[in-house]
Symmetry: C2
Subunit: 159 residues, 2 copies
């Protein structure tokens, strides 16, 4: 088991990601667009987890003042489909959350219910067991959600 960190995507990675997005977009018979690329860039460079609303705020802070919420909501599923981001922190309620998936390794989350801190980790044994179980139950495994909740060291001490 090990913690997993999310180093920022460098400009090369950003380029590769946008390239991948364009490939998917063209593959679907759609067109590229500057606005969509801007949303993708903001999502890829966002540090940590974000909602549509938070991404919009970030976009506006970056100068894309007239980007509209509806556009962000329209672009996010495309970015998921292209593998640039993925849904995450499903249990957080109210508002879907996303995080970068492009050039980032698989991981699960443990969340402090007191201070909301999120630690990301990877544990191969889980992955193996999940595949075993799925097979036993007659399923071909395609994905999973695995979130742990607890109280972190800091918050335990504070009590």
């Amino acid at each position: 088991m090990r913690r997993v960190n999310a180093p920022a995507l460098d400009s090369g990675g950003l380029e590769r990601a946008l390239e991948q997005l364009r490939a998917v977009v063209h593959g679907k018979g759609l067109k590229s667009s500057g606005v969509r690329d801007a949303v993708a860039r903001a999502a890829l460079q966002y540090e940590g987890h974000f909602t549509a609303e938070e991404l919009l705020t970030e976009l506006r802070a970056q100068g894309a003042a007239d980007t509209h919420a509806a556009t962000v909501y329209r672009v996010l599923p495309l970015l998921v489909e292209a593998g640039l981001i993925q849904e995450s922190l499903l249990s957080a309620g109210q508002g879907h959350r996303y995080e970068r998936a492009f050039e980032r390794e698989h991981h699960d989350h443990i969340i402090c219910t007191s201070c909301k801190k999120v630690v990301e980790f990877e544990f191969e044994a889980f992955e193996v067991l999940q595949r075993d179980i799925s097979e036993h139950l007659g399923f071909r495994l395609t994905g999973h959600v695995h979130e742990l909740f607890g109280v972190c060291k800091n918050c335990q001490r504070a009590t």
Copy 2:
């Protein structure tokens, strides 16, 4: 690992559950009520997973014609607090889902992404590993969400 089934709650279990609800309610300085008990009964007897809306439909089908959605939304968190039901199928999107928790063992879910079938299972090894990991990361584990997605045997064949 084993499949876990949810046998219906018999009238004795129903009585115990309502008793437990009353205890929690009184413990909070609140009052019992017929409407709340009716919502609890419908929730406890609901087969499978349900949303607030679905529970409301069921209630009305059972003759509680004037029960209002707002009431259901107000009662559900109480039922969770009293341990009669729990949130479940977080990943299903649009609308919180619940299932009975009272006199029912812990389990996780695997969902067929094609036909939406849900199989419930219990795997002690997961529980142990989760505790280990949490400890390693400095957390005191208090809960988790674990949902697997895949394609069930039937749907694999159908392809």
